[in-house]
């Protein structure tokens, strides 16, 4: 860096995390990764679709049955369906609803609930991980052994067990999956925080009279941001898949909701044996694309951050 302007300590503190991100080779590395760029493109595309559908589509028309007004289970016009349905690009489902518009609206549902799940489990996991690392001893043991118990369950099955307690519904699925994912973040963050704690400046800060919360939030948290961000991105795809999986099994989104998982369940139930492929093809395609977008970006971020980090993140 060629800037020679002397900065005061507080100055550096204020801009610390952001400046480091700007100056680090991370962003330029990430932006030179073609696959990561494709991932960003897909995600942006989905966000635009989601917002458009949320703002301009009438949810009521998408959820309630349109039998009587329109033919049901019809292929799209371009694939041999009736010409009168040309504007229903993806055909109609068992209740004669427009699969195209439902799929578009599904992007909003997937991104909304995916974001909430990832944000909640990140926050919870980061808090627990940092506290475990900083206080050590009993606190560390209690927190991390509890995390071990959670990790002893296959993730989707734990989510099912929690749904058996909470009952079905999208919000309940979000809570269940938040609890399932939290240990992953706690582990990553605890590992990163332990590394930071070895640094002498933490001792120095404490000696200068910084309180525990201040050390945790101002000094340890910023240094764990990188692995957290990567883990969150990689988890985003998983969260979207798992929420849809719970909906597919009937424990997430409830009847009528245009969620991709539920649409796939409808497609399997009503179209699989009769070859009505469009009922499952399109919702699944958008689901897979969205997940691919997050996985491409997450992979790129991981490589850009440090190729050697591949061992610490799953």
């Amino acid at each position: 860096m060629s800037t020679e302007t002397p900065t005061t300590r507080t100055d550096r503190d204020e801009r610390g995390a952001l400046a480091r991100l700007k100056n680090s080779p991370f962003l330029s590395e990430l932006l030179s990764n073609r696959l990561a760029l494709i991932g960003i493109g897909i995600i942006l595309g989905m966000v635009i679709i989601a917002l458009y559908a949320r703002l301009f589509y009438d949810l009521n028309a998408l959820t309630s049955s349109r039998l009587g007004g329109f033919p049901d289970r019809t292929a799209p016009g371009w694939a041999g369906g009736p010409a009168s349905l040309t504007e229903m690009y993806f055909g109609t489902d068992a209740l004669a609803r427009d699969i195209f518009r439902r799929t578009m609206y599904g992007a909003w549902i997937a991104l909304k609930f995916g974001t909430i799940t990832v944000a909640a489990s990140t926050t919870l996991g980061v808090g627990l991980g940092i506290i475990a690392a900083y206080y050590g001893d009993v606190t560390d043991n209690v927190i991390m052994r509890t995390m071990d118990v959670v990790l002893a369950f296959p993730s989707l099955l734990l989510a099912l067990a929690l749904v058996a307690i909470f009952g079905a519904g999208l919000w309940k699925a979000v809570i269940a999956l938040t609890l399932v994912y939290t240990p992953r973040f706690a582990r990553v963050v605890r590992g990163a925080a332990l590394k930071v704690l070895e640094d002498e400046y933490i001792d120095a800060t404490a000696a200068l009279g910084a309180t525990d919360p201040r050390i945790l939030v101002r000094h340890i948290l910023p240094n764990t941001l990188a692995p957290i961000t990567v883990q969150s991105t990689l988890n985003f795809g998983l969260a979207i898949i798992d929420i849809a999986a719970l909906s597919f099994l009937g424990f997430g989104a409830q009847a009528g909701t245009p969620s991709w998982g539920l649409m796939l369940a409808n497609g399997v139930e009503n179209g699989l044996q009769t070859g009505k492929w469009w009922m499952s093809f399109f919702p699944g395609l958008f689901l897979a694309l969205t997940v691919l977008g997050f996985n491409l970006l997450g992979d790129g971020m991981r490589d850009a951050l440090d190729p050697r980090m591949q061992d610490t993140l799953d």
Binding site: L35, T146, P154, L157, A161, I165, G261
Partner: protein, 368 residues
């Protein structure tokens, strides 16, 4: 060698985890708020009957007493009887019937994943940045992004519906009936519950029997005799491929990055400097060392695989422990839910224990 101390330590560490798992499973019943007695006798039963059943189930005892009783019973794998789905059958019996179905599916899926994923991963690493490498990487990334409950239906639509190559659902043709035991030297032996193995045993028995009875002329009847086995394999093919592709994607990704790391090690260069050929060096020195982290992933991924088996069973209409768990949750059949969840957790934990032990065998430094 695997040190006994390492295994003992690893087993001791399991105790608190299993204790926690059992406590959570106990909590499923008590946090869900439903009244088991009411569920058993139905909504129309009189208050008197409900009270009677509550007393019988011990639901009036203090919660700690119930907890203690649950732990003791769970340690013996006793979860009582199913409330709804298989009313009156002990949960242990239901699980014993359904578990082999799920394990069979998971094993074939894992087998396909390993058989294809390992070579692809090695190839991708050895030929880094080649066309093969890019293809494998993008393919693998796509593979882990495609949900099983989408790839499964697509395979059915294509290979069952359109090409009519495989059956779409079930475990075996509806006209085929299997014995529930087999006979060897006059002794009745139980079957495994895994349909491909059972049909193989039964068909081979019948085939050998007919050769013994009718002599060598019976040899060409092999296809007739293996009808049940063929049907079982055909039924299992699509579900196993559905899980297998996902597993392959995960394994090849891990194998690639692990192999890339190993290739750069000094001992690889030393082996080459000794005059050893490139292929032998990769296979002999590289593969074994690269496998170490991959084995861990295979263990962790076994959990994903079990979750995948639940979804696959639902898509393909296979009556394993996964579909059973889904219907048990819907029917609030808590003993079955508890039994199934604990079984899955136990299975997952044991696989990871096995993984850790294998790990210490492959890399003896671990137990230091």
């Amino acid at each position: 060698m695997v040190s006994k101390r390492f295994v003992a330590k690893r087993l001791l560490l399991l105790i608190p985890v299993l204790f926690g798992v059992a406590s959570f499973v106990f909590a499923i019943l008590h946090l869900s708020g439903g009244d088991p007695a009411q569920i058993i006798v139905g909504q129309r039963a009189s208050q008197e009957t409900v009270r009677e059943v509550r007393r019988e189930l011990g639901l009036n005892d203090p919660i700690l007493v119930q907890y203690g009783r649950f732990l003791i019973e769970a340690a013996q794998f006793d979860f009582g009887e199913s409330y709804q789905i298989s009313k009156g059958t002990p949960v242990r019996q239901v699980l014993a019937d359904k578990l082999p179905v799920t394990i069979e599916l998971a094993l074939y899926g894992q087998g396909i994943g390993l058989a294809l994923g390992l070579p692809l991963g090695v190839l991708s690493a050895v030929k880094q940045d080649s066309l093969v490498d890019h293809g494998t990487r993008i393919g693998a990334l796509t593979g882990i992004s495609v949900p099983i409950y989408w790839s499964g239906p697509l395979l059915i639509l294509l290979f069952s519906g359109y090409f009519e190559l495989f059956p779409a659902a079930g475990r075996i043709g509806s006209t085929i009936f299997l014995d529930d035991h087999w006979v060897l030297f006059g002794r009745e032996l139980p079957l495994t519950g895994m349909v491909t193995i059972d049909t193989l045993i039964l068909n081979t028995g019948a085939y050998i029997g007919s050769i013994l009875n009718e002599g060598l002329t019976a040899i060409p009847t092999v296809l007739e005799h293996y009808e049940a086995f063929t049907s079982a394999v055909m039924h299992l093919f699509l579900p196993a491929v559905t899980i297998g592709v996902y597993s392959m994607a995960l394994i090849s990704r891990m194998m690639r990055s692990s192999m890339l790391e190993v290739i750069r090690q000094d001992y690889m260069r030393t082996a080459r400097a000794k005059g050893q050929g490139a292929k032998i060096t990769v296979m002999k020195h590289g593969f074994r060392n690269a496998m170490i982290p991959v084995i861990t992933v295979v263990g962790i991924q076994f959990g994903t695989l079990l979750g995948g088996a639940v979804l696959t069973e639902t898509v393909f209409g296979i009556g394993g422990i996964g579909t059973m768990l889904v219907s048990a949750i819907n029917a609030t059949d808590y003993p079955l839910v508890q039994g199934a969840v604990l079984t899955f957790a136990l299975l997952f934990t044991l696989v990871n224990l096995g993984v850790d032990i294998t790990y210490s065998y492959l890399d003896p430094r671990i137990d230091q």
